[in-house]
């Protein structure tokens, strides 16, 4: 299985290199079940940009799975899982290559369904069943919205292929955009439509979560990119809506993440946050498209696409390392862990790399893409347009806030899980992950560093993708290489690393020069310190969660401790998903009530049944 998958990925790589060397090839066209449509397959720069993470992460996940999900340990579902995993990868590769509605929908649905079976692989657990079912219904909502989009497209243009939508009535185009936004947005996990995401990511096996969060949700982004690329001059409000949604999911995503104490749920909410950042970039690009500002288009689009790559790398890196922690300790509760730095150093190191990268800190890759988006937002100050004012004035500081919160959140996770002393018995017999698990992590970490240190490497491809998206070659002055300080980023990163090295050496030298001793941690003379006295992730997050209580509505159970010798009390806090618990569930419950009312039609009473016939007859006779 794994070998086959890797071979498949190899073929994909071959295809990409062929594209990079030989340029775009002629589209491949096959007969489809619908007479008017033809299955069309073509690889252009955008496809390649999305193909790369698909192949990288899937291949990594397969190798990782070899020891994370051993066939010998999972007799029952091991084969099943790797089958659906392979199908998932294949579907995504087909998806980004598809150039007509029918094939796109086909690949889309196969992807959605096989992802479902990957998530629900441990279906004896009721939570898994519930989460995966939530995912499936959400993703079917998405699919049906896409039915609507492509049906409208076909009705408007008369063809099922992806052709320019110029000349389509604005109203129709807006409806298409909204449907696409709901459809693709649900898949991507943009904030109000994200309900399925945390549960699914938490319940799935970690390497599946890595693929889901690394590439599957990016397919929603791909869809939006494709969709908008068909519209020459989109209305301004498209871009504004995208930016606003981006800000919302960015800020609230990370805010929710801070409130979580399940490591995988937390990472899932960070996916929402990063999707938000990507959507900001996309929105900026769309805005630039409508206002005719090539520099916004380049910076926004390049930022978005590069962040797609970066999020794919560091998020799957994080899920992998979280996975090996879970594999070693059998718990996802952050507050149960601690001190794993010593027992599993490699995993800890890779997690740290991922954490720094996802916070967008130099010298790693997250910084580069966020810098592009920042620059674009700053550029948008240049013109006198209300929309762009709003964009820059509120998106940029929001991005800064996101950065700060992300730092807080990942210090919390890294600190609680890997640093300090271990809490509880889970960490007792923790062990370092095997090579086939750390190997993929190492590769991903290397990619993070590489892109962070030398963004110039990826610039040409990004530029090509932007050209494809705009449909014309961007003039020299506005190209990525000239609007973004690619070289300087490397210089800055190099300086930083150099200084780190030097100062580190100095410290090392001083330490070995003078005498050293070890003792207990100084905790202000407290007599009997114990690991359980450490700051937990919940206590770390408390202040921030309080700041955001207006949005998070956290649930706190804090009993009063009275009397001189109080008996045992237990405190816990929990941050549920408000959209799911306060909006979706009530609506569903209401619908069920309404439906049950209709059930009274079918009460087994013959006379009533016959009466219906008569009534219908009369109604239709009346209706002229």
């Amino acid at each position: 299985m794994a070998v086959g998958l890797l071979a498949g990925c190899g073929l994909g790589v071959a295809a990409i290199t062929q594209f990079l060397i030989g340029g775009a090839s002629a589209p491949l066209s096959l007969q489809s079940p619908i007479a008017a449509a033809r299955f069309t397959i073509e690889i252009d720069a955008i496809s390649v940009v999305f193909l790369v993470p698909i192949l990288l992460v899937s291949a990594g996940a397969v190798v990782y799975g070899l020891s994370y999900w051993k066939q010998s340990e999972h007799e029952e579902n091991g084969r099943r899982l790797s089958f659906w995993l392979g199908l998932l990868t294949a579907a995504m590769m087909l998806l980004v290559a598809a150039r007509d509605g029918i094939l796109f929908l086909l690949a889309w649905e196969v992807m959605a369904v096989s992802a479902y079976f990957c998530i629900s692989v441990e279906d004896e657990d009721a939570n898994t069943r519930q989460a995966s079912w939530l995912y499936l219904s959400a993703s079917h909502l998405a699919t049906l919205c896409l039915f609507g989009v492509f049906a409208l497209m076909a009705a408007a243009t008369g063809t099922f292929g992806f052709v320019s939508l110029t000349g389509v009535s604005p109203a129709l185009m807006n409806v298409m955009f909204l449907l696409a936004l709901i459809g693709f947005g649900t898949k991507a996990g943009i904030m109000p439509m994200h309900i399925w995401l945390p549960g699914a990511h938490a319940q799935a096996p970690s390497h599946v979560s890595a693929i889901m969060s690394g590439v599957v949700i990016k397919m929603g982004i791909y869809g939006l990119v494709r969709m908008v690329s068909l519209v020459d001059v989109p209305p301004v409000w498209w871009g504004v809506v995208l930016l606003t949604l981006g800000v919302i999911s960015g800020v609230l995503g990370v805010a929710f993440a801070i409130g979580q104490h399940d490591i995988k749920r937390l990472l899932a909410y960070h996916s929402i946050e990063n999707i938000g950042i990507i959507v900001m970039g996309l929105g900026l690009a769309v805005l630039g498209r409508s206002l005719g500002r090539p520099d916004w288009v380049v910076l926004g689009m390049a930022g978005a696409l590069l962040h797609v790559w970066n999020h794919a790398t560091f998020k799957s890196l994080l899920f992998f390392s979280a996975g090996s922690v879970i594999h070693a300790t059998h718990t996802r509760e952050i507050d149960q862990l601690g001190g794993l730095q010593k027992t599993m150093p490699a995993t800890a190191f890779f997690f740290l790399i991922g954490a720094v990268a996802i916070c967008g800190l130099p010298p790693l890759n997250g910084f580069v893409s966020e810098l592009f988006i920042y620059l674009g937002l700053f550029q948008s100050l240049a013109v006198e347009s209300k929309a762009s004012f709003a964009a820059a004035a509120f998106a940029a500081p929001a991005l800064a806030l996101i950065g700060g919160l992300a730092v807080a959140c990942f210090v919390k996770v890294y600190g609680t899980v890997f640093l300090g002393a271990g809490r509880g018995e889970h960490v007792q017999h923790a062990h370092e992950a095997s090579l086939s698990m750390t190997g993929p992590m190492a590769v991903l970490a290397a990619v993070c560093v590489l892109i962070g240190m030398a963004p110039r490497l990826v610039a040409p491809l990004l530029q090509q993708a932007v050209n494809t998206w705009t449909g014309k070659v961007v003039p020299e002055v506005y190209q990525l290489a000239s609007v973004a300080p690619l070289g300087w980023i490397s210089v800055g990163a190099a300086t930083l690393v150099g200084l780190l090295a030097v100062i580190g050496l100095v410290l090392h030298w001083r330490l070995i020069a003078a005498e050293r001793a070890t003792s207990l941690t100084w905790d202000c003379g407290y007599a009997a310190p114990s690991p359980r006295m450490q700051y937990t992730s919940s206590s770390f997050a408390e202040m921030l969660v309080d700041l955001f209580r207006w949005a998070l509505i956290p649930q706190k159970h804090a009993p009063r401790v009275r009397a001189l010798f109080p008996d045992d009390k237990e405190f816990y806090s929990h941050t549920p998903d408000i959209v799911l618990d306060r909006v979706v569930r009530p609506i569903v419950a209401f619908l069920y009530r309404v439906f049950f009312f209709f059930r009274y039609m079918q009460q087994g009473n013959m006379q009533a049944y016959l009466l219906y016939i008569l009534v219908m007859l009369v109604v239709l006779l009346m209706w002229r």
Partner: protein
Amino acid sequence: MSIQAVDPVLVLALVLNFFILANSQLRMVVFAVAIQGAILGLMYPIAHQGFNPPAGVAVEAIGALTLVRLVLLAMAIVLIKGYVIPRLLFRAMREANIIWHVESVIGLTPTLLLGAVGTALALAFAQSLPIKPGHTSTLVIPASLATALTGFLMLITRRKAISQVLGYVVLENGIFIFGLLLIEAVPVLVEFGVLLDLFVGVFVMGIIINHVNRSFPAATSEHLSMLRE
């Protein structure tokens, strides 16, 4: 003799409708239905246009073969509706020892009133529909509608499965009345087919009623309501 000649008979049919609705004796109802069916059968030859070519349409004089067919059809109708079906029903009732009493969901008098209203509506509705010049002032259409409606009324209001079967037969009677207008259109063969279907249908229903009463005593179709949401 003309198509109008059947009008008095149709009046009789209408009266029978009310009798059927009003009567609480299942046996009487069966008889009434049988009579209604039988007289309809007798009407068939009379109503044939061949006897009275109406103005406007050139109808060839009625041929011997047609006559024979008509007579056969009439006999068949009389036989099945007037004899066989009642026998079937009686047998079913006897074997299933059903109480010889009509049970209505809303009571007999309201049913009767509804029937009256229905008949009135049927007449009104019939007025709203155009009549072929040849058939002016004939009762056929309203009568058939009213009878069909009566049948439906029985189906909806009667509790016992058996009386619902009766309702079905009455409904069919209504359709047969309308058939009087189209003896040329609807070939005798088809009429036979329809008749056969009716017969088999009632036959099977009788069997079912039997089984029903074996499975659970007191066969009101309200006991037949296990299957529900």
